[in-house]
Symmetry: C2
Subunit: 459 residues, 2 copies
């Protein structure tokens, strides 16, 4: 069945591409498989009622920044019908068989495929404590469920967010915005403890304190305490915290059960092992999104549980290749960013804490700068920290906190890490200077100059 | 007198560093010369009453975005006294003599130097038409003059801005904001005609039209028409435009008279020729800022009349080297950006018009994207155009127009041009996806994907 993608778009032999999962990876894959060859038969199975919406927007509707859930829908069901993508909603795939190239679909029986794409996404890690079956435990994921939870939030007085994960940070901020007394429980000493350095998390935590959030750091979750089947409190190493609602924002784990049952190889993270074309260990089976693990560009350690943007890009690669095209996915450096409290934070690759934990030697350059001319309205602070390899001064990571321009700088620095850009390069970079949009000195450049000076002293 | 900079900061032999000019280049040089060795005697001559303010902020005070001129002062006279920089205000340098290492200062006589830094900046090109001596012709530069002109603006009904230069764009926007009937006269067919492509200038011009600005494109200035010594109208190839005030925003030309009289070598732009250390053709004489010309990183053509950020960075290099340190300046790619009308525009290196004019072959990638999730409040359009060398697809230029994140993207793309990053690299870049700060797809990446696809079709 392997043949080159026809440049004319007319394939000598249409194929049936089956996709399990209707999230960013699955929909990205479906679009790419259809675009690569419109004569392909593209079928998507999703256990949910909808596709084509942004689950990442849910916290902002809860926080009232966005007025309603309808705005999160980016495409209608007709959009997919019109391009010939056949989506089976509320349909559960029971199993698949790579040897016979068949999928077992609940209520539909057995169907065959030429190429299969596994895009089954993630689950939240089971907190593994008593009381996990109580009502009032909210796992933020599906939009229909979120609509129901949003009504619940209207009467919630006190809420606990379990874990200062990226979603945890968004939900703490959202619940506090909404005027709910919010507690955060996390086993680390600060927010995003495995990803983010304390000097970057610090301003976020200060602004949460100003918003009335109570933070319980170094605190272990011990259980959910109920009454009448509903959660009434969260039991922790720091004592019991009364709450009518708990957002369980634990780590994402790959939803890999179907794939493991079919014999696909998973890696140390539990994510499916894929090659650069997003091919799994089974022939004619591809995977994309949170069900996979992807090598980190620095050192190749596998990563799992990336962003919607990664899932969508991986879906496009898997879909193109499944459809007979040729596209490859690169190791990741994972630029990240979000709004938390009143700040934007972000970064890429290694921070100081991660580098220290991994025993990776590094030089650090720091700067606190501004986003516009000092005298221009709405000027914001921008703090930049750059990590570089000693000697070469190649950039190996960055962390940022500020009031604007954090996402754009994180994207930039991710390309710098990937391409081997050095602190010398960044120390001498040019920058736009225009009072309403940029300061005389770019904070990235000043941080790089600081790192170069620090490295010179260490020699 | 040449010796290596002592790493301890204690020099075996202090030197006298004289700087002509108190703008960004001169002040950058003074600070660097003092920082490199605090025992240096650092003297600055300026013909103006002040240093340490931001002339780039003047249009925004006129436009009422910034409430008063005091905010543009970033340092007091005491700041410089305290660090031991000796500034002679309202002092004119008549000449200098590299052979004897002396400077002739009006009212002070002859003084000697060990190292001299020429930072005499720019003048606006003389429009070379009748009526240039009339009152009411405003050359935006000095803050004290700007304070007086700001009072005049209170009673101005109609103003003409001559040339759609970067300053011209800022002043058109400012005058229109202020409610003055504003006309713009320019010989090119669109704004920033030599720098900017028409598809990027277009949205700016639409928003000016909405603001009531009258644009006279392809229009030549013929003279200033006066009455009672004051300008009353501007005579153009498009007819006479009545006005009580004219902002003459012609090109910057190097203020090189002193340096030429001293025998320093100037290049084709009229700017002083400097090496990578900012040394001029005369020994112990350095130069920085708008009086210099700097090679473009693509092809080495000399450029003159860059930004305050460039001037400041060049000043630091010249000051460090003059003081016995070692620092070099790189060829420039000139990221640029500004607010014009209701848009931000920007870019780096070549646009399509410039590439076509220079006969440089290029592949273009385009995308119109968004700055945040589509449903998030204050989401803005971001249009990106990337130019790349055919074959290698190395980036050779970019142009941008949008509502936010333009400066950060222009800075990023400038590093990409300098470091040989390709459209392939950008097509596969990762990006931060978080609804309040970044969209699923980064417009730079989508434009690169478009360029890669376009290039593939051309092969």
């Amino acid at each position: 069945m392997m043949y080159a993608h026809s440049a004319t778009g007319v394939s000598p032999l249409a194929r049936k591409v089956v996709i399990i999962g209707g999230g960013a990876a699955g929909i990205g894959a479906a679009g790419a498989a259809k675009a690569a060859d419109p004569s392909n038969d593209v079928v998507v199975y999703t256990s949910f009622e909808d596709v084509g919406y942004s689950p990442c927007g849910i916290p902002y509707v809860h926080g009232k920044e966005i007025p309603d859930f309808q705005r999160l829908f980016l495409a209608t069901k007709e959009t997919y019908e019109n391009v010939g993508i056949d989506i089976h909603y509320e349909t559960t795939v029971r199993s698949f068989d790579p040897a016979n190239r068949t999928v077992e679909v609940e209520g539909e029986g057995t169907t065959s495929y030429d190429e299969l794409i596994v895009a089954t996404g993630f689950d939240y890690q089971d907190p593994g404590v008593p009381g996990g079956d109580l009502g009032g435990l909210y796992y933020v994921k599906n939009i229909r469920a979120a609509m129901e939870w949003d009504k619940v939030l209207d009467s919630v007085q006190r809420a606990v967010v379990v874990e200062a994960s990226p979603l945890g940070l968004e939900m703490v901020t959202a619940l506090a915005h909404r005027g709910i007394e919010t507690h955060l429980v996390d086993p680390h000493p600060w927010a995003l403890g495995e990803l983010c350095d304390p000097d970057v998390a610090g301003p976020v935590q200060e602004s949460w304190a100003e918003m009335g959030v109570t933070m319980h750091w170094n605190t272990t979750l011990r259980g959910f305490v109920g009454g009448g089947g509903q959660v009434r409190a969260v039991e922790t190493s720091d004592g019991e915290i009364p709450a009518e609602l708990v957002v369980v924002a634990t780590h994402k784990v790959p939803n890999n059960a179907l794939a493991l049952a079919a014999g696909l190889k998973a890696g140390s993270t539990g994510g499916l092992v894929v090659d650069a074309r997003m091919a799994t260990s089974a022939s004619h089976v591809w995977a994309a999104g949170d069900v996979c693990e992807i090598p980190h560009g620095l050192g190749g350690l596998p990563l799992q549980g990336l962003t919607g943007s990664h899932a969508y890009a991986q879906g496009k690669v898997a879909g193109t290749n499944a459809a007979g095209g040729e596209r490859s996915y690169q190791p990741v450096y994972v630029p990240w960013g979000m709004v938390a409290g009143k700040w934007m934070i972000g970064g890429v690759a290694l921070g100081e804490v991660a580098a220290a934990a991994l025993g990776i030697p590094h030089v650090v350059g720091r700067a606190t700068g501004i986003s516009r001319a000092r005298y221009y309205p709405d000027v914001k602070q921008v703090r930049v920290k750059l990590l570089a390899e000693p000697g070469t001064l190649r950039l190996i990571g960055a962390q940022l906190v500020g009031g604007e321009g954090i996402k754009e700088r994180a994207d930039f620095l991710a390309v710098c890490v990937r391409k081997g850009i050095t602190l010398h390069d960044l120390a001498t970079m040019e920058n736009v200077y225009s009072p309403p949009i940029g300061a005389l000195n770019e904070p990235i450049s000043v941080a790089a100059q600081d790192g170069v000076a620090t490295a010179a002293k260490q020699v």
